[in-house]
Amino acid sequence: MKQHSKRAAKLVLVVVIAGAVYGAAQTRKEFRYTVSPKSTVYVANQYGPISAKSAPGNQVVVTVVLRSDKVEVEQSQRGNRVEIRSHLLTGADVDSGQADYEITLPSDANVTLQSSTGPLHVEKLNGDVTLEGATAEVDVRDLSGGHVHIKTLNGPVTLTNVRDGHVEITSVSGDVVLNGVEGPLVQVNSTSGKIHYDGNFGFGGQYSLTSHTGDIEALAPPYASIDVTARSVRGQVENDFPLEPKHSSFVAKAGSAFAGTVGKAASSVKLLSFSGKIHLKKR
């Protein structure tokens, strides 16, 4: 019994010391930069979340929590470009090398964020947004006017209410969900991820959703104005829209390929898969 309580005491002591060390090692830093319109903010982080949101004013405010003393921040402002990089010291791993970033910035800023584990979150901006993460979950919402480029390996990507820019998403195996995404160019390229599109296919844009083995589901309203081509080499295709035939070399094949126009055919829509299922649904 005595032995037992001694052990318990030791354990408590260890926990307390560990807590103290952890608490001391975890540091919070804040950096502020004054920028002109159309600034560029670049953040490269190996491990940990980055979130960027617009705020009124002409300041970029970066708050970072470093999880241990194995990770440092290098930061600089050159002209209208703010650059932040996490720097890992020897022995840093996914946990001890983690840095959590929160950024507020003017809405017209261009943003490039990189984190292999993420998640990456961007909200309410009008500038260009470039995001890259290996396993990072990507969540982007309420953007307009800027270009959006996203690359992930297996990180899932969700875009909500993104308008009037070029949207290009390349993900190897992450699922991609687009809700209310419209613009002159919307392109998703995936190897095994599923692609879900729910929107109007507006802006007279070029929409191209491609996945090698993933399913592709696209929901559009009955009044959509599209010129659509869909094909799955080994998978099934399904279409709920009455299509007007069109002149093209594309060979339609019941069950595996269809092509035609809906309404005035203002936007072009291409849905391509090798073995995934494709479904163009009426909302």
């Binding site: 670049y42 490039t112 292999s116 270009h147 390996l153 095994s192 191209s208 491609t210 291409k270 391509l272």
Partner: protein, 208 residues
Amino acid sequence: MNCAEFQDDLPQWLEGDRKVESEAHLRTCPACHELIADFDFIRRAAGQLQESAEPSPRVWNSIAIALRQEGLIRDGERESATVTVFPRPRGRWLNWLAPIAALGLIAFSLWTYQNGSPESAGQSALPPKVQTASMSLEDRQLLDMISARMPSLRQTYESDLQDVNAYIQDAEQSVHSNPNDEEAQESLMQAYEQRAMLYEMALNRSLP
């Protein structure tokens, strides 16, 4: 002067060479008056269009990478990139060359990464031949490098690499069986792009 005559004279009119008869016709003809107003509107509105669109950030990324590669940017703060410019391959031109060239140079870049400085490697050996179908050696080298640098990501890269290679194989077969099939060509390019992205990401060369 009637409308037809006025409109025949219109190009000169718009250039500022204005006949008295034309002016007289214009005062009495609402249709021609509207025509002039429309042309005026088109000219003014077109003049204001000059710079409305913004290129995607990739354009600068590619330029910066090319400038570094060609030695025109000499910041000295970054290792010189050996990854090639990777123009958007969606247009017809360069359709095939771009992703293949990118893959070749990425492979070269990986090779040099593992064999010391790019200069010494460049002198002692040529870059490996571009052979997309048989890159398993490069793939293994890439995975070894990932194991060393980012062990937690090795599994993700490995399974993604396998999937992408299967994608390329299927897409290549489709193109071979029907070389004029536009969609098959597009899929193949996208497959190459997937592989190029995977390599670029692993080598940390996808952003400037």
